[in-house]
């Protein structure tokens, strides 16, 4: 096992980030817009999975409400960035209420406000439901996400009801997505690597023992849940400005989204931040590759029709298999750190 000192690690991290920026820049300049869009999506997915991983993997509760917070962030930020004229044009059933009818603001502020409102929702949901036992918490958060979807369909003067929001400005580019991912990772990693992280891991392993160490389990889980909700809101804003439409009738912001994020977290490993990002990348790439199954295939003049839904079937089968064979996720709880990376090379060098 190699142990590098803190300064070296910090220095290496700076270089690593610089390399990523350079790679993203090269990709943006040279690759076609379709691939650039996917790379942007990986950044957004990364934020989603890192924040869900904070709640489900680190603090040891199972939240199924992530899509709800994402939807809150998406709606709030979109309503804030869309021009007043635009809003008048699309809200045809009922006029949009104050303050949205008279506000238009830059993307950055709208995103932050989206995150804050999502965090407030997280507090309101977590406050009663984190007192419940784990299973009931899962059901309650699932219910919350469902309530958000029902509100989106019915609260016409805010959400435009079933018509959804259209022509949201497409502000989200590679830099916004990956910039916010960087912020998310830095904040969550330093939260988890300090004394709070130790307390959370203690809670995850044994609540009774953690309480006997003086840790207020409820309060720590609530803080974590709110922090996760904040970043879910941020990712929601980025997602909405990437999609440019929000349609509450389809599953873009429904339970299916939570499920997809859960797969990303599982591929990476419950509790590992680096794993969550890798999981997000693999999920985005896999779901593009597996598109192949859903498109018609031509073999010698015979056309075999694509089977729609095949991707989800493969993902859900993968999901169940991971849980049966490797319940802690493919990578487990291990983080990719400089020490681990160098130890790996070192060992190879020894041979």
């Amino acid at each position: 096992m190699i142990k590098l000192n803190k300064k070296t690690q910090f220095f290496l991290t700076i270089i690593f980030i610089a390399v990523i920026i350079l790679l993203l820049f090269t990709a943006k300049e040279n690759l076609n817009s379709y691939i650039v869009r996917i790379i942007t999506l990986i950044g957004i997915y990364g934020i989603m999975s890192v924040s869900l991983n904070l709640i489900n993997g680190v603090s040891g509760v199972l939240s199924l409400g992530h899509a709800g917070f994402i939807a809150v962030g998406a709606y709030i930020s979109s309503l804030l960035t869309m021009s007043i004229y635009q809003k008048e044009a699309i809200f045809i059933i009922q006029k949009v209420i104050w303050p949205f009818n008279s506000i238009e603001m830059p993307f950055l502020f709208a995103t932050i406000i989206g995150g804050i409102v999502a965090a407030i929702f997280a507090f309101l949901v977590g406050w009663p439901s984190l007192r419940l036992s784990g299973d009931y918490f899962a059901i309650t958060t699932l219910g919350f996400a469902e309530i958000i979807r029902i509100l989106a369909l019915n609260l016409t003067s805010v959400t435009n009801g079933a018509l959804g929001l259209k022509s949201i400005p497409s502000y989200t580019n590679i830099w916004w997505a990956w910039g916010w991912l960087l912020v998310t990772v830095i904040v969550i990693a330093s939260y988890v690597n300090g004394t709070f992280g130790r307390a959370l891991r203690a809670i995850r392993e044994d609540k009774i023992a953690a309480a006997s160490m003086g840790i207020n389990v409820y309060k720590h889980q609530l803080i974590t849940f709110v922090l996760g909700g904040f970043f879910a809101g941020i990712s929601g804003s980025l997602y909405a400005h990437w999609l440019t439409t929000i349609d509450p009738r389809t599953n873009t912001i429904g339970i299916m989204l939570t499920f997809n994020i859960l797969i990303m977290v599982l591929i990476g490993g419950l509790g590992s931040i680096s794993g969550a990002i890798i999981g997000a990348g693999l999920f985005a790439i896999l779901s593009e590759v597996l598109r192949f199954f859903e498109e018609p295939i031509k073999i010698f003049n015979f056309e075999i029709a694509g089977i729609s839904g095949m991707r989800m079937l493969i993902f859900s089968a993968l999901f169940v298999l991971i849980m049966i064979l490797r319940p802690k996720g493919i990578l487990g709880r291990k983080e990719i750190t400089w020490n681990n990376v160098f130890s790996l090379f070192h060992r190879k060098g020894d041979k």
């Binding site: 784990g134 059901i139 219910g143 859960l262 089977i307 839904g309 859900s316 849980m323 319940p327």
Partner: protein, 313 residues
Amino acid sequence: MSFNNFIQNLLNGISIGSLYALIAVGYTMVYGILKLINFAHGDVFMMAVYFCFYAVTLFTVPWWLSVIIAVAGAALLGFLIDRVAYKPIRNAPRISALITAIGVSFFLESLAVVLFSGVAKSFRKVFPSFLGEMIIIGGEEQVKYGQNVIVGGTRIPVITIITIITTAAVLLILWRIVYHTKQGMAMRAVSMDIPTTSLMGVNVNNIIGMTFALGSALAGIGGILWAIRYPQLWPYMGFLPGIKAFIAAILGGIGSIFGAVVGGLILGVLEIMIVGFFPSLAGYKDAFAFLILIVVLSVKPSGLMGQKEIKKV
């Protein structure tokens, strides 16, 4: 609301409530033994309806036979889910088991999309029309066709009566099985203490499998009655009724079969009554259950009939 209207709503609520009860019993039995929310239970409900649908439309089986096929299919499916997905992780942490259950649920839904397509299918005319069907007009449920029985000025759809009677009969049979057979006794023993029961020479895995099969069969019956009422079937139809039935099970006190039935009836009647009294809330109907859940759990975490668990340190 007139008196006749009230009675109509009440009966309507009871019949929806008995459907929740039928599904909730399966949840509560599995939870009582494994402490696992079997998220896939709602999807077994959905699968049973598809079995029934294809038995009639594709294989032109008489409708009564299709019911038997569907219920048997549901039971088998429940048994298989336990064997394939849950049995390997019996000793894993509860959070892993819960995540697996969610995965199985999505697997079944995706499988249904691939096998039966994601487009909704009509369940009309699968069953004889005297059973009738409900459609939703302006938020209020009304009978579109099918026969009604008129009692003292109150029109009662035949399907409402059939639902209530079937549920009562099925629950009576279940009660006989659980409290008056050897297998039922084994089930109750397993739900109290798995290691001790296995030391008594009971094959615990078989009993758990049987519980899954029994619960799934009930969900299958519930599914078919549901589809006659709301004659549209699609792969995600089991999600909401499933979640609501689980809430009903919690409401009544998870682990108690009687509690699940009471919880289901309360939830069904409340849902219909709230919309009946406040028609403007009809759009939010599906959100009530969750609000009720949060309120009940905050006031009495063990549910209405449940027993308080003693924390073991």
